[in-house]
C-alpha cells in the first residue's frame, strides 16, 4: 500500500473515530448535543456573576468595537480556555480509555489522540459561532477577523494536541498524571487573564519592577491566546505582532515535540496498559 493510500485510510479512521467521540458523548441524554453549549454557558454565567457583579471587576469599553459587556468579554477568553483544557485532558486519557482496543488491534495510535481533539474542535466551532452571533447582535464586527479566528482555533488545538500527546504517554506509565493535571489546570486557569483583565497584573508589575512579573506571566501561551481571541472577537482588532508570532511558534514546537515523544513510546504502549 502506498503512503498516500495509508494516509487516506487513516483519514477515514480519523473521521470515524471523531464521529464516535461526538455522537457517543451525549447519547441517551435528553438535551443531546446541546449539552456541549450548556456547560460553557453555565460557567460563563457563574463567572459573570462572581467576577462581573460581586467583585465589581471593572473592564473598560473595548477599542475599537466599543463593546462593554462583561459576559462577552469573559466568553471570548473562557471558551478557548475550556476548549484547550478539554483537548489536553481528553488527549491524555485517549490511550488509557481505549486500552481494550490498543491491546487487541493494531492501528496508528495517534488517531485516538487526534480524533479526541477533532471532536472537541467540532464543539468549539459551534460555541465560537454562537459567540460571534451574539457579539454581532451587540454591535461588534468580528466577521472581518473570521480567518484570524479560525487560524487561532487551529493553533490552540495544536497546542492542546501537542500537550495531549505528551500527557497520553505519561498517563500510560504513571496513572497519577491525570490527578496531577486536574490540579495544574485549576492553577493555570487563575494564572491566565480570563476572569480578570491583564491590566490588573500590569498594575502589580509596576509596583515591583525588579521581579519581572509581567515577563514571566506573559510566557504562558494561554495568556497570549486569551489576548488573541479577545482582540479578534471582542475588540475587533489585530493582536500585536509579537503575540501573533508567539501563538504560532509555541504550539508548533509543542506539537512536534509531543508527537516525537508519542512515537517514541507508541510501540511499547500495548504491554504497559
Amino acid at each position: 500500500m502506498s503512503l498516500v493510500g495509508e494516509l487516506r485510510t487513516s483519514q477515514d479512521l480519523l473521521l470515524n473515530l471523531t464521529k464516535r467521540e461526538i455522537t457517543g458523548k451525549y447519547k441517551r441524554t435528553a438535551l443531546g448535543q446541546a449539552w456541549s453549549l450548556v456547560n460553557p454557558l453555565a460557567q460563563m454565567a457563574i463567572y459573570s456573576l462572581v467576577f462581573g457583579f460581586v467583585l465589581q471587576n471593572n473592564v473598560g469599553p473595548a477599542h475599537p468595537s466599543g463593546l462593554h459587556v462583561f459576559a462577552l468579554w469573559l466568553s471570548a477568553a473562557l471558551l478557548p480556555w475550556i476548549f484547550f483544557t478539554n483537548v489536553m485532558t481528553s488527549g491524555m486519557a485517549a490511550i488509557l480509555s481505549n486500552s481494550n482496543l490498543v491491546k487487541k488491534v493494531y492501528f496508528p495510535r495517534y488517531t485516538l489522540v487526534v480524533s479526541s481533539t477533532l471532536s472537541w474542535l467540532f464543539t468549539f466551532a459551534i460555541e465560537i459561532s454562537v459567540l460571534i452571533v451574539v457579539v454581532l447582535i451587540f454591535g461588534g464586527m468580528p466577521l472581518l477577523y473570521l480567518p484570524g479566528i479560525v487560524i487561532a482555533m487551529i493553533l490552540l488545538a495544536t497546542l492542546g494536541l501537542g500537550l495531549g500527546f505528551m500527557l497520553a504517554v505519561a498517563n500510560v506509565y504513571f496513572r497519577d498524571t491525570s490527578h496531577f493535571i486536574s490540579i495544574l489546570v485549576q492553577v493555570w486557569f487563575y494564572a491566565t487573564p480570563i476572569v480578570y483583565p491583564l491590566t490588573l497584573i500590569e498594575g502589580k508589575a509596576r509596583d515591583h519592577p525588579g521581579w519581572h512579573i509581567l515577563t514571566i506571566y506573559r510566557m504562558n501561551p494561554m495568556e497570549r491566546f486569551s489576548e488573541v481571541f479577545r482582540a479578534f472577537i471582542y475588540e475587533n482588532r489585530m493582536p500585536p505582532t509579537a503575540t501573533v508570532l508567539y501563538v504560532i511558534v509555541v504550539p508548533v514546537v509543542v506539537l512536534v515535540l509531543g508527537f516525537a515523544i508519542f512515537q517514541r513510546f507508541e510501540g511499547a504502549m500495548a504491554e504497559e496498559l
Binding site: M1, R8, T9, Q11, D12, L13, L15, N16, L17, K19, R20, T23, G24, K27, R28, N100, L101, V102, K103, K104, V105, Y106, F107, Y173, F174, R175, D176, T177, F180, G267, A268, A270, E271, E272
Partner: protein, 419 residues
C-alpha cells in the same frame, strides 16, 4: 513477489515482572533508578517462515508464547530482539468487536470497526451488505450494539473482521463463536479465504481442527521453537509429547497413593457395588494410557460388592477433551448380564480394533441395576488415554471408519504418506 508471507527472524520478547506493579510517580521516584523486576522471556530466538497461501498453526501449551507471538506478528507488541517481516496487508482476529462503541448502532460500528481494521469508506460501502448478511442481524443493524446479545456482538465483529480481506489473517481461538450454523459459515469463509490463495495463521487448542485445517505449523514450548514443519506430523508429535508429560504426572501421583485409587472428578451412586479400578489394557494385557488407531484393546472394570447383587449392568462411555460424547455401551445392550455378582471381581470389554483417530479421551464407567434406573456407582472421567497414529490412517475427525476410495481408476501412490 516473494512467496514468504510472514518471516519471523530471531524474535525475542521480554516481559518485565515487577515485584510491585505500581504505576505511580511516587513509586518510580522512591525506587530511583533501580526498579526491581525480573525478566521473563515470553519468546526466545523464534525464527520461522510462513509461506504465502498456507494455513499455519501455532501450537503449544498454555503459556508457551503462542499468543505473544501472534501479537508480535500483528504488530501490537514490539519484539525486544529480532524482527518480523510481513509481505502484504494483515488483519488480526484477536478479540471480536473490541472496537465497538456500545451506544452506537450496528451500522455505525461496522464503519468504525472497519476503519480501525484498515478499510476505507468505499471498501466498507462495497462490503456492507455482505457483512450484515454474514452476521445475520439485518433487523437489528440500526439498534445500538449495547442491546445486542453477546452472540450477536461477536458475530458482527467476526463479520467485519473477515470481510477486511487481508492478504494475511491472524486468528486466535475465535473459531468457537456463535451457534453451529454460524460456525459452519465461518469455516466456509476460511476455506474460501484459503482457496483464494491467502495466508491464515491460527492459534488454537482444538488439535483436531488444527490438523485438518493447517498445512504447516510451529510448535512452541516455553517461548522456544520445538519444531517447524508439516502440520499433521507436528500435531501428532505434540499429542504424543503431551501424553508423555501427563504420564510423568500420573506416575508422580501414583507413588503417593494406593494402587486401587481411582482418580475421579465426578462420582455418585448408592454404593452397594463400587468400581474399585478401571484399566485399559493393550494387546499384551498390559495396563496402558497410550493406544494406537486400530490396536486391539480391553477395558477392564474392577468391582467390589457390599452384598450380592442380582443382574447388574456395567456401562462404559468415551468422551473426548472437547466434551463430545463419542461412544457408549452397556452390558445389558451387549446381552451380557450375569445372574448375580458378589465379593470382588472384574469384567472386561474387548475392542477388536480401536476405531478412534488421534486425540485424548476420557472414560466414563458405571454400574447400575437391571432397570438402569438405580445407580450403584458412576465414575466420570475415571481414566484418560491417548490415541496415537496407527492403522488405518484417516484425515481427520474423531472416529476411524476404515473407508476405501473406489469407483475410479487410480493407482495408490508409491510414496509413503508424508509425515
Amino acid at each position: 513477489m516473494s512467496d514468504i508471507a510472514v518471516s519471523v527472524n530471531d524474535v525475542s520478547k521480554r516481559f518485565r515482572m515487577y515485584a510491585e506493579r505500581n504505576q505511580s510517580l511516587k513509586a518510580a521516584l522512591m525506587r530511583g533508578r533501580r526498579a526491581s523486576y525480573e525478566d521473563f522471556w515470553a519468546l526466545r530466538d523464534v525464527s520461522f517462515e510462513i509461506p504465502v497461501g498456507s494455513t499455519f498453526g501455532l501450537i503449544g501449551e498454555n503459556g508457551s508464547g503462542k499468543s505473544t507471538l501472534l501479537k508480535v506478528i500483528a504488530r501490537i507488541l514490539r519484539p525486544d530482539q529480532g524482527a518480523v517481516a510481513i509481505n502484504g496487508s494483515l488483519a488480526a482476529l484477536l478479540e471480536l468487536g473490541s472496537g465497538f462503541h456500545p451506544e452506537l448502532s450496528g451500522r455505525e460500528n461496522v464503519y468504525l470497526n472497519g476503519s480501525i481494521l484498515g478499510m476505507n469508506r468505499k471498501q466498507i460501502d462495497a462490503k456492507f451488505d455482505e457483512i450484515v448478511d454474514f452476521s445475520g442481524i439485518e433487523t437489528f443493524i440500526d439498534q445500538p450494539v449495547k442491546n445486542y446479545s453477546s452472540g450477536m456482538y461477536v458475530r458482527l465483529g467476526f463479520a467485519v473482521a473477515i470481510n477486511v480481506d487481508p492478504d494475511i489473517l491472524l486468528v486466535d481461538e475465535v473459531l468457537a463463536v456463535g451457534d453451529a450454523t454460524f460456525q459452519e459459515k465461518c469455516m466456509e469463509k476460511f476455506a474460501e479465504f484459503r482457496r483464494a490463495g491467502r495466508t491464515v495463521v491460527i492459534v488454537s487448542h482444538a488439535m483436531g481442527s488444527l490438523r485438518s485445517m493447517c498445512d504447516r505449523a510451529v510448535w512452541l514450548r516455553q517461548g522456544e521453537v520445538v519444531r517447524v514443519g508439516d502440520a499433521t506430523g507436528i500435531v501428532d508429535d505434540y499429542i504424543d509429547d503431551g501424553h508423555v508429560e501427563r504420564e510423568r504426572d500420573r506416575e508422580r501421583r501414583d507413588e503417593g497413593q494406593a494402587r486401587e485409587t481411582v482418580i475421579v472428578d465426578g462420582r455418585w451412586g448408592s454404593g452397594e457395588v463400587q468400581l474399585t479400578d478401571v484399566e485399559v489394557l493393550d494387546a499384551a494385557g498390559r495396563k496402558t494410557h497410550l493406544l494406537r488407531t486400530g490396536d486391539p484393546a480391553t477395558i477392564r472394570l474392577h468391582f467390589h460388592c457390599e452384598r450380592p447383587i442380582d443382574k447388574p449392568v456395567f456401562g462404559l462411555a468415551i468422551e473426548n477433551l472437547d466434551g463430545v460424547y463419542v461412544w457408549a455401551h452397556n452390558s445389558r445392550d451387549g446381552d451380557y448380564v450375569p445372574e448375580r455378582i458378589e465379593g470382588d471381581g472384574s469384567v472386561d470389554l474387548a475392542i477388536p480394533a480401536l476405531p478412534l483417530q488421534g486425540g485424548t479421551f476420557d472414560l466414563i464407567a458405571s454400574v447400575v441395576d437391571y432397570t438402569t434406573t438405580h445407580v450403584f456407582d458412576f465414575l466420570r472421567h475415571c481414566y484418560r488415554f491417548d490415541v496415537g497414529e496407527g492403522y488405518p490412517r484417516e484425515s481427520g475427525g474423531i472416529v476411524v471408519l476404515n473407508g476405501k476410495w473406489t469407483g475410479l481408476d487410480a493407482k495408490p501412490s508409491t510414496a509413503p504418506i508424508a509425515r
